[in-house]
Structure formats: C-alpha cells, structure tokens
C-alpha cells in the first residue's frame, strides 16, 4: 500500500518535485511535518528516537566511567596511543562534510536537486560535527584541561603550540562548526517567518517570531540575504576542503609510515564527501518514506547522490592505489613494510580487505542504473560505505601505529567494550538530535522549494 502511494507520488527520476505543487501546497506539506499534533508523529519516529535515546544513555555511562578511571579503560596502549576516539572523530567529521558540500558547492554549481535535501544535510552536518567535536576532548588524558588548547591569557603566560596539527584542528573544527551553524540558521530565517505566520498557537507564533527576527520577505531583505548566502557558500567551499585537509594533517604531519603521505588531504576530503553522502542517504531514505515526502525528495535526488557517491568513491580508490604504489615506489623500507603489514603481514590484514570491499568493490554496483533507481539497494549501499569509511580510519590509525620503526616497540591493539560503547553512544546522540530536528523544524527549505515550484511552473509555461 505504501509502495502504491510511493508510485503515485514519485514523479520519477527526472523531476525534483512532484506534480500539482503550488506555493501553498509545498509550504503546507513541509510545515505540516512540524505542525502536526504530537501524537500524529509517525510511529517509526518514536521507535527510532527510543532506540537512539537508549544509546545516548550508553554514551553517558561510558563517559562517566571514562572520566572516573582514565583513558586506560580503552584499548589504547603504547605504541597504539590513538584508538577508537580518533577513528570516530575523523569518521564523524567526514560525515559532517556532506551538508556543507551540498549547501555550498552544489549551490555554486546551480544544482537544482540540492534544494530539498540541503537543510536536512546541513542539520546532519551540525550534529555530526557535534559528535566529532566531543572525541578530541574525551580522548585527552586530562579532559578537564581541554581549554588549554585555546589561546586565552592566563597566569602561566603559556599559550598553545601552533605548530601542532591538533591546534589547527581546534581552529578548523570550531570554525567549521560555527560556519555550518550560520549557514543552517541563515537558511532557516525565512522559513522561521513562514512558521511564525503559519503557527496556530500563540506560543509557537512567538518562538518562531523571535527566531525569524521580524523577517518580512522585503525585496531589500532578499537582495542582501542572497548576497550573504552566496558569500557563505563561497567561503564554506574552501572551508570544507580545508577542514578535512587539516584533519588529514593530524596524520600526514607525523612521521609514521602510513601517515606521512602527501596524498592524504585530497583523498581524505573525497572520503569525507563519500561517507557524508552515504549518511545523507542513510537518513533521507527512511524519513522520506515515513513522512511521505517522496514527491519532494524524489528518485532524482537519490540517483544524483548515488552518482556523487560513485564518483567520490573512485577518487578514494585512487587514493588507496596511490598509497600502495608510493609505498613501493618510494623504495623506503619502512613504507614498503607498512603496506605489506597493512595488507598481508599484520594481524589486522582482514580489516584492510574488508575496507577495500566496502569502499571500492561493492559500491561499483552503482554503475548500474537499476541499482541506483532501487531505493532499498541504495540504502544498503550507503550503510556499506559508512562502514567502509570507518574501517578505513581504523586501518590508517591502528595498523600504522602497531608496527612503526622500532621492532622492539611494536604492539597490538584490541578495543575494549568501552571503546565500542562510546562509539555506539555518539551514534545515539547523533540520531536523537536528528529526530528532534525533523520533528521540530522544517527539514526542507520552504522558500527554496517555492522557487523550485515557480521554476517548474515557468518551464511548464515555456513548454
């Protein structure tokens, strides 16, 4: 029955919006998601939130235990001094990249299909970055001193050490978080106005009224608004590239074989977008189904995102290839050993091949249009890619540290339950925030949808 409905609503792969939509209808459909009574929320959302919330509590327990005992509760050791915490950090940051990319780069590239997913993925970016941002603090030996990484005047006359990539991280991640928020919030202002005017209840009128800051859609407002929005896009585009480059510097600045690589910045960025789009799909596909938004998030969107995944996936594959090639071509015994150890010799060789199949082999299925057009298949592939990208970070962090220069100092890494609990916990935090956002704020940009409606209409006239 659902499928029939999908069939009816889904305008097919060419259109970015279903038929028969006018300004009022898109507005009502989107804001309806927020305005519909609490109990009318789709049950899937309740169930999803419940599960996510359980994980949130797992996270809290894990963090309390961690703070009470120290990072020793994790599997990290000398020489593998970085473990899950950093892996998760890089993974979340990577996921966070899709949002800004969709909003900024696709905006500059005038990709109309971005419209109905940009708000959604910007929110995803925010929450992913929030999860990522927690790890650098959690993984500190003395987390209560995390503020020492900020340049603030103090009685010790001491300052951060800006030659360290970790300080670059502090600036990059905080900048990225703030800018993503600005982007997201700026995009929301006109929609807040819509919500304000659509709200029935006095209090919601006032809340949205305050958030809208008196936006009244004047031509002058729009003129400045569009300039600012475009500038944000223009600035975030290099930002999004810089952030994951800086994250990759955490590794490539270090001297470790398997870390000390010039290919890292580009292929980290590609990998970030790869996993980011995967996550957007992982989230968008169910939501679209639950709220019957098939006419706003159409097959066109899904197919486009699938194509982007395929493309970035190929860049990542190239990255892996280069790593392998350079480790041989460098003629450096440590580099050669590193790769041999990563792919065959080390006791985590199987993780490497798992990652290769998740990130390179399986996604090749996306070449086929039939796969791209199959929502379920794309959904599953997105999960596979998310896993693969996590494994990639695992391989980079762990296998390189396990066996570096001094054979006498080699070690082996085994995660503990607390590693896993912390990771699972952040997934819970992320999903809870996502569900709250979907329920409480317009998950699709209404004013931009109106533009789409208008364009579609004018096309129709044109034809």
């Amino acid at each position: 029955m659902e499928d029939e409905r999908t069939a009816v609503l889904d305008p097919g792969p060419t259109k970015v919006i279903g038929p028969g939509h006018d300004f009022e209808s898109v507005t009502t459909e989107i804001s309806g998601v927020v305005f519909r009574p609490f109990l009318k929320t789709p049950p899937q959302l309740f169930i999803g939130f419940a599960c996510a919330f359980v994980l949130v509590n797992v996270f809290l327990v894990a963090v309390v235990w961690l703070f009470a005992k120290g990072v020793g509760v994790w599997g990290i050791r000398i020489p593998i001094a970085w473990g899950f915490a950093i892996i998760n950090f890089v993974w979340w940051i990577g996921i966070g990249h899709a949002g800004t990319l969709i909003s900024a780069i696709l905006l500059l590239l005038k990709q109309d299909w971005r419209t109905s997913i940009n708000r959604f993925s910007e929110a995803m970016t925010l929450f992913a970055v929030a999860c990522a941002g927690m790890f650098p603090i959690l993984h500190l030996g003395r987390p209560w001193l995390a503020y020492w990484l900020l340049p603030y005047p103090n009685t010790m006359w001491l300052w951060p050490q800006p030659r360290s990539p970790l300080i670059w991280d502090v600036f990059a991640v905080s900048t990225y978080a703030s800018v993503s928020f600005l982007f997201w919030f700026t995009g929301l202002i006109p929609d807040f106005a819509t919500m304000r005017d659509g709200a029935g209840k006095r209090w919601s009128q006032r809340i949205f009224g305050i958030l809208a800051m008196g936006w009244r859609g004047s031509a002058k407002h729009w003129a400045r608004y569009q300039k600012a929005y475009l500038l944000l896009a223009g600035l975030s585009t290099p930002l999004v590239v810089s952030v994951h480059s800086v994250v990759s510097f955490d590794f490539s600045i270090a001297i470790l074989p398997g870390w000390h690589t010039t290919i890292f910045p580009p292929y980290f960025v590609a990998g970030a977008i790869y996993s980011g789009f995967a996550m957007v799909l992982t989230l968008a596909i169910p939501v679209r189904r639950w709220y019957h938004l098939e006419d706003l998030i159409t097959m066109r969107h899904i197919e486009c995102m699938a194509k982007v995944m395929l493309g970035t996936g190929l860049i990542v594959a190239y990255g892996y290839g280069m790593e392998a090639f350079m480790s041989w071509y460098s003629g450096n015994q440590f580099e050669r050993f590193m790769y041999w150890n990563r792919a065959w010799g080390g006791h985590y060789w199987w993780v490497y091949w798992l990652l290769i199949s998740c990130n390179i082999l399986i996604p090749q299925a996306l070449w086929s249009r039939r796969v791209r057009m199959n929502v379920l298949a794309v959904f599953l592939l997105s999960l596979v890619v998310n896993t693969g990208m996590w494994l990639e970070r695992f391989v980079i962090v762990v296998t390189s540290l396990e066996r570096d220069f001094m054979p006498s100092a080699w070690g082996r890494y085994y995660p503990t339950v607390w590693d896993i609990a912390t990771f699972a916990g952040t997934i819970g935090v992320f999903l809870s925030l996502m569900f709250l956002f979907i329920r409480g704020l317009p998950a699709i940009s209404m004013f931009e949808m109106r533009e789409v409606v208008h364009e579609e209409a004018s096309h129709a006239h044109g034809d």
Binding site: S31, R36, P37, T155, A199, W203, Q205
Partner: protein
C-alpha cells in the same frame, strides 16, 4: 491531546479576554481551538502580554482585527536591540569578574594571615629584637629549603624569657613531648614546582623581593601571588630585581634609582642567567 492542555494549564489563569482577542482562526492543523500557552512559553508570554494588551486599549476604528498579525508590540524592536547590547555587556562582565577573582586574595591568599599554632610575630623578632633571618632559617644559603627553626631554637631564648607565657605553651609542649609544631604554610608552591632558595640568595635576590617586608608583619602573610607569570617576570629580566649580595638579608633595602644600570652590572658580575627553560622549575 488537545483536551489535555486546557485542563493542565487552567491553573495558569490566563484572562479569557486575551483568547478572544487572539482568535487564531485560519491557522493550520490543530490551531483552531483556543488553548492557553504551555508553561515553556510563559516567560515569552509575560514579556509581551502587557504590551499587546495596550494595543487593544487603543483600537483603530478602521481595522477590527488589526492585532491578528502583530505578534509583538512596537517596543519589542527596541527590546530586541537592547537585549543584544545587554548580553554583550553581561559576557564582558563575567569575564572581568573571573579575572578579578583569579587575581584576588580569595584564590591567591595574598595579604591573608593564616592561623598558626603560635601567633609568631616576625615584626617583633626581626624589627624589635633584630634577629637575622638566618638565625632561624638556617639552610637558606645552602639548601633548596630555607629551613624552619626546630623547637630547640625557640627554646634557646624562651626557656629564659617569656618562659611561662601562655601563648608559648605549644612551644614548650612540643619541646617536652617531642611533638613537632605544625605551622600552616604561607608560601606554598604546587608539588610540581621546584624552587631552590640557596641559588636565588647566592645570586643576589633579596628575601624581601619575594616575601615582602616580613620584618613588619605581626602575623605572616604572603605579598605575591606566586603565579608562574610572577616568577617568569623576574626570570626574564633579573636585572630589575637583583641587589648586591650584602643586601640580600636587608629587609629595608630599596632599589636605587639607577637599578637599571646597577642590575645590568650585577647580572654580569654574578653571572646570572635568565633561565626560562621549563626544567628550571618543573621536573
């Protein structure tokens, strides 16, 4: 659900007149019934409640439902701007307060005389009796630790004078029982800081430079924060603090007017290095 709200919030007693005047007819899903504001928005409500009513009291003859759209009163504009400015000021204020507290006596104990087993007066012993620092702080020239006088030292005099003063009972008691006196530390560095008295004294840093005019303290207190920035200040430019070796124990020593040049001279003569390596103090 909708029925639930009025029952729950009836206690809030929002005037009915308000509801009638704010008929939200024509709103979206579920917006047609009149319900008072839930608690989460009471604050926002109260903020504008009175203001919006004033609108009604001067109804415009021409527009009956003029207030349907206006959610905020005129003054809300100024209110918004003012609150922005206020927030900025508040933030600055908080930071300033934090700074003051950090520098203040509450944290640093500067100028705070602490309880001691015996109300020992440096003023009396140094100024009145003219006892040299080293008579009690024997190891100040030879050891990292300046040394605290054993009870014996006190008793050398106090077995003769004030030999039965009540306030000296703890001293005599200690001497009798062999139980040490437990003084409260005034100048207390963290355990990871290694300060060495002998080298400072030998290089011409006077007692009073760090400890102040102890000879004028009835009860001892510290005059400097002992913050790292305070140490580094001197370690970076010792020439502005160094004094001739023979003046080290002179409590009344005042830096001469030509300290700048004298300092440079002494730094050279005593071969004083400006050590700002971490391991100078932290190991």
């Amino acid at each position: 659900m909708p029925e639930f709200f009025p029952r729950f919030f009836s206690c809030l007693g929002v005037p009915r007149s308000l509801h009638s005047s704010y008929d939200p007819a024509g709103g979206l899903a579920g917006s047609s019934m009149k319900v008072p504001d839930p608690r989460v928005c009471i604050a926002v409500h109260d903020l504008f409640f009175r203001l919006t009513e004033t609108i009604e009291r001067q109804p415009h003859p021409h527009f009956e439902s003029a207030s349907r759209m206006q959610i905020f009163h005129r003054s809300a504009n100024s209110l918004a701007r003012v609150s922005i400015v206020a927030a900025t000021f508040a933030l600055t204020g908080v930071l300033w307060a934090a700074y003051r507290i950090d520098q203040g006596a509450f944290i640093t104990d500067v100028g705070v005389a602490k309880d001691q087993p015996v109300p020992f007066s440096h003023k009396h012993h140094v100024s009145d009796d003219g006892i040299d620092c080293r008579y009690c702080h024997t190891s100040v020239e030879t050891s990292a630790f300046a040394g605290l006088p054993p009870t014996e030292t006190c008793m050398t005099c106090h077995s003769q004078i004030w030999s039965n003063a009540a306030i000296l009972e703890p001293v005599r008691d200690s001497y009798r029982t062999g139980e040490s006196l437990a003084w409260t530390r005034i100048h207390d560095l963290p355990d990871f800081v290694y300060f060495n008295h002998s080298i400072h004294v030998n290089k011409g840093i006077g007692c009073s430079t760090c400890h102040g005019r102890v000879d004028q303290m009835p009860l001892t207190y510290k005059v400097n924060t002992l913050y790292m920035q305070w140490c580094i200040e001197c370690h970076r430019n010792p020439e502005s603090y160094v004094r001739p070796r023979d003046q080290v124990f002179n409590m009344a020593y005042q830096a001469p007017s030509d300290q700048a040049q004298l300092g440079r001279h002494l730094v050279a003569e005593y071969n004083i290095q400006s050590l700002t390596d971490c391991v100078t103090c932290h190991r």
